[in-house]
Homo-oligomer: 146 residues x 2
DNA sequence: TATTGTTATACTCTATAACTATA
DNA sequence: TATAGTTATAGAGTATAACAATA
């Protein structure tokens, strides 16, 4: 009997998917490595990065991380224990705790962000300015306007 | 005092880095989601995917995953407990155990791989064939010959 | 009643160190 | 003696369920 299978994707698309997979691995590894240089885990670095843009309630961090709110408690606990983050009361709603980076946390987040420049320099450094424009436009289209 | 700072990257490169970050997040989420549909963790899905290409010693799995060999024991244990993977002796070296997918494991890996096609269809589906060729060439150059 | 954050629990992944059986 | 795989241990992230304080 002929089983109804998902049509195989063409070789071109397959190669692009594989290339993207390589980029994903490389990006992820560099991120973890940059975090590790500050003795931070990936999750901690992500939360610190989020808060450095804008302080936010614990609940919202969980939404951003796509994880359960109960997990955020521990991650912020560890960041707070290291003096990188602090919990502030929300004047508007006393149930809410706003997590915000300390001075040290803000500095660490900045250094972490600079670490990502390594990624920008290395693989992206292979491309000329025109090529980067082309890549930007393709990625923009791919991810849909936004 | 003028602090010697890492030179800031230009806006264009920054945007490309951010776009790649978005792709990375999306790719990762889809991978975890595809794994979850088979009640597999990301690590388990990655190992199963590796072995479906080629059976290999435990040690080599650890190298591929960039983790300690001791971790692989547990991951393969769980895959084996579910009948997706089996450990075979290596005729050439009795210290070595070759991990290989079972029939069920091979089928699961295939379905998992098809799940990645979702990624190929969605964001990549936005691009025409010519655009995909352009993206492929840019990624190839970026990742260096490859 | 509903919501925010937390605690308690259990599972997985991770690294480190010590062990075993081979080589 | 060196290597492959394992075990033991501890820390971190994750989900689920139940709880206190507040809305």
């Amino acid at each position: 009997m002929a089983t109804s299978r998902t049509p195989r994707i063409d070789p071109l698309t397959l190669e692009v998917v594989e290339l993207i997979g390589t980029v994903v691995t490389r990006y992820y590894d560099e991120y973890e490595q940059a975090a590790g240089k500050h003795t931070l885990t990936g999750a901690q670095a992500r939360v610190l990065g989020l808060l450095s843009i804008e302080p936010m309630p614990m609940r919202r961090i969980a939404q951003k991380l796509k994880c359960e709110p109960s997990n955020v408690t521990g991650i912020v606990d560890r960041l707070e224990a290291r003096g990188l983050v602090e919990r502030r009361p929300d004047p508007a709603d006393r149930r809410v705790k706003l997590a915000a980076p300390t001075e040290l946390g803000a500095r660490t987040a900045r250094e972490l962000r600079d670490g990502l420049d390594d990624f920008a320099r290395e693989p992206l450094g292979e491309l000329s300015r025109d090529e980067r424009v082309a890549l930007r436009d393709l990625l923009r289209r791919m991810l849909g306007a936004g």
